[in-house]
Symmetry: C2
Subunit: 135 residues, 2 copies
DNA sequence: AATTAAGTGCAACAATGTTGCATTTGCAAA
DNA sequence: TTTGCAAATGCAACATTGTTGCACTTAATT
């Protein structure tokens, strides 16, 4: 998957900053924080530009915010881009990483009367495989 | 349930600001944002004091942060205080409210090998009963 | 009532996010 | 390929949010 294609699909101009952000996220095997993304960008962009590019990508649901305890905020490519089904996220207390659990689908919840579900977010917290085995 | 009792239980001084924050949350039927809490406080506290009281209550797990899409942050009394079991939260797109679904327990998820679960957070998003029936 | 550890308010600061505007860039149409 | 224009960029100024140090006040214990 390439950043340029994604931007074209969403009818967005392929600016350097946007492409950079998307590339960084594609090449990461886990969700990254805003600073982690900024640090990995090759180009040097103004704070404003970064914020604006970021906001655009979130608004168009190309990237997706994942928030766990303690206001830790991480970003990953959205399901609408990756074509993955809805899945749970895992937050590791040890290494603070957030990973997509592609094989763990969201379960359906029976809601009280007159509540209508449209989407559900699940964050499972604990110790990830890597941290568990290296101890 | 009274604010003073809660503070005593947790061996915290019952300062005016802390009591105020807890009272506001107890008397709300839904989770409140920081500003909603500040607005409902009777006393007029310095920003610093408010942040510090807030942080203390979160650290001691008396109040609990709930974050949904779009960095909306709301607070509710923690389960350890209310003695309620783990339950899902519901976020209404219409009225932006966050409510505890006391009757909707968190389901167990089967994790990949070597992942260890310690707690799970579920936020169901959609339309709440009130908004659905008044339309 | 006195003691004292903890909470408060203030000022100064740091970090984070936003807006307006002049300039540059991406893209499409000639 | 060049041209035109809307959109993206960088900069400066600003607003908001959160933190820290310090002198003063308050809550709880003796």
């Amino acid at each position: 998957m390439k950043a340029a294609e994604i931007l074209n699909t969403y009818h967005l101009k392929r600016s350097e900053c946007r492409e950079g952000i998307i590339d960084v996220i594609i090449n990461a095997d886990q969700a990254l924080s805003e600073n982690e993304i900024r640090d990995r960008l090759t180009g040097n962009f103004d704070r404003t530009t970064f914020y604006r590019s970021f906001k655009t990508l979130v608004q168009h649901k190309i990237i997706h915010k994942i928030i766990v305890d303690n206001q830790l905020v991480k970003y990953a490519l959205d399901n609408s881009v990756t074509k993955k089904q809805e899945h749970a996220h895992f937050y590791c207390f040890e290494c603070q990483s957030v990973k997509c659990l592609d094989e763990v689908p969201i379960q359906r919840y029976r809601l009280p009367d007159d509540y209508a579900e449209s989407e559900t977010e699940v964050i499972i917290k604990g110790t990830c495989a890597k941290c568990k085995t290296t101890k």
